[in-house]
Amino acid sequence: MDASMSDESANSSVSAFERVQLARHPERPYTIDYIEYLFEDFVELKGDRRFADDPALVCGMALFHGRPVAVIGHQKGRDIKQRRHRNFGMPKPEGYRKALRVMNTAEKFDRAVITFVDTPGAYPGIDAEERGQAEAIAVNLLVMSRLKVPIVVAIIGEGGSGGALGIGVGDKTIMFENAVYSVISPEGCAAILWKDSSKASQSAESLRLTARDLYRLGVVDVVVREPSEGSHTSHQESARLLDESILNALNEVSKIPSAERIAQRYQKLRHMGDGKFL
């Protein structure tokens, strides 16, 4: 188990659904908070050059420990006005296409990509469907699997299904101990399989959506400890822990020659969930 993960932490007895609630805590640090702590000279890059800018997905260039990198992350809002502006962190196709554009720019100039995942999911709405939400996500999966530069993915809060994965394919996946990553929300799963959305606590257990579970399943490479009661109790300490973890991951994958890194990324994806078929 990774050194940054501590089984003796005070939170090891927290239930899956409690972690879901911590991951959604309104005071939890968001992408922009981490950008302030972790990077210097951040410059935001807006717009997908096709239709619009999507405030639910923030992109930019910045310095990470002196090294130029591309930064991409979902952004939720802190108050009602911001939440509406950020669409509750649910991107539309233009968000994923902006991310794609910035990733291609990063590749062109040989700069690593760091992504921050924190979304309830991609936006389910009429306009998003009209503009090809599914296609936008799908293209990102394909391109990220072959991008020549290093990609480090940090799941900082809610990893909501395809909306999370749309910026979540990389060489190393880091996850906070109270973050969650799931194919469907526990409420949605309970409504469909239990026909009772109040069974969310049970479905959260069944879905194995916690960092520890996903580490065991091989989906996540590194689990990062959170301050005492969760990341919302200290943004600064959370940022320090995340910074250390991203730096280690980035140093590790940057050492590998590009072609080999792509081959390793392929192998990692290739073996997702295939344990029983070998």
Binding site: A122, P124, G125, I126, A128, E129, E130, R131, G132, Q133, A134, I137, A138, V139, L141, L142, M144, S145, R146, G159, S161, G162, L165, G166, G168, V169, Y181, S182, V183, I184, G188, I192, L193, W194, K195, Q202, S203, S206, L207, R208, L209, L214, L217, V219, P257, A259, E260, I262, A263, Q264, Y266, Q267, L269, R270, H271, M272, G273, D274, K276, F277
Partner: protein, 332 residues
């Protein structure tokens, strides 16, 4: 050729659960135009209503038979079946649901892989079947489609997927989600080799299947009136709290919004695919792609294998073996 040893054992259309009730006796009723249809007529018209062209759902093996030359193909990867990686239990254990799905559908999984010729072109077709747990994609479906794509890459064949799925399979959690990335990564390698991928969308195709391979085709076609989307209509209605227009997320809606190349009647599907393959299958383009890959990525590339120069590899050949041996070569 050895590939065509196995004649499709079930060219006869197997009625789905939905149809089984309606097809008792000689006639069944079209849900769209209410016409009584003679069962044999419906089978002859590939489960399309002869009166109003309503497309009934079609099982995976009939799909394959309908597309391949002489309805002959080899069914592959049937040994890849779902396990229960999360030990998932809702109101029933997942293992029980799987057993029920196998019994009621008569299928080993929600996708059936075929290999054969379409218009003379080597084609690897993955046909999904909605009657197996809503065509949902778990690790076995992900593994089967990935194997199909890797095999096509190794044998320089075309890939065709026929989607019919509610999306990722909840009972395999985040591992199901990862299948989206896994299949897309395999498609990226196929793409770099300049090999064709045609995605056929049938009713319904939503969720994680749409948001991965189904929307990545060089050419994407849909059956008439098929429901296709990222989010399901119910989820959208709950989110925006308004009723959706009747044609929303139908094949024709996607065509209008530039998301598919064509809406194709099932009875014209095989002819359409042959025309597309005649355009796309071009060994000259493939050779060019190989040279390109070899000069730009002399090591570690998944697409620059010298064995690809005309030598057909055994179906068991797996890209991972080559990648590993290359990684070893590099480290020494």
């Amino acid at each position: 050729m050895s590939w065509f040893r196995k004649k499709n054992p079930r060219i006869e259309v197997v009625p789905t659960d939905e149809r089984r009730v309606k097809t008792e006796g000689q006639f069944c009723k079209c849900p769209e135009c209410d016409a009584a249809i003679f069962k044999r007529d419906l089978e002859e018209s590939l489960q399309v209503c002869p009166h109003c062209s309503h497309h009934f759902r079609l099982d995976a093996r009939s799909r394959l038979a309908m597309l391949y030359d002489e309805a002959e193909y080899e069914e592959l990867d049937d040994e890849v079946v779902s396990s229960d990686p999360l030990h998932f239990v809702d109101t029933k254990p997942y293992t029980v649901r799987l057993e029920q799905a196998r019994l009621s559908s008569g299928l080993p999984e929600a996708v059936i892989n075929g290999r054969g010729r379409i218009g003379g072109h080597l084609a690897h077709v993955a046909a999904m079947d909605f009657s197996f747990m809503g065509g949902s994609m778990g690790c076995a479906v992900g593994e089967k489609i990935t194997r199909l794509i890797e095999r096509a890459t190794a044998e320089r064949g075309a890939v065709i997927t026929i989607s019919s799925s509610g999306g990722a399979r909840m009972q395999e959690g985040t591992l199901s989600l990862m299948q989206m990335a896994k299949i897309s990564a395999a498609l990226a390698v196929l793409d770099e080799a300049h090999l064709p991928f045609i995605s056929v969308l049938t009713d319904p195709t939503t969720g994680g299947v749409t948001a991965s391979f189904a929307m990545l085709g060089d050419i994407i076609i849909a059956e008439p009136k098929a429901l296709i989307g990222f989010a399901g209509p119910r989820v959208i209605e709950q989110t925006i709290r308004q009723k959706l227009p009747k044609d929303f997320q139908r094949a024709e809606f996607l065509l209008e919004h530039g998301m598919v190349d064509a809406v194709v009647d099932r009875r014209e599907m095989r002819a359409f695919l042959i025309k597309a393959l005649n355009f796309m299958v071009n060994p000259a383009a493939q050779v060019e792609a190989q040279t390109e890959a070899q000069s730009s990525e002399p090591q570690g590339s998944l697409t620059s294998d010298p064995d690809r120069n005309g030598h057909r590899q055994s179906p068991a050949t797996d890209l991972k073996i080559k990648a590993q041996s290359k990684a070893q070569n590099q480290s020494t």
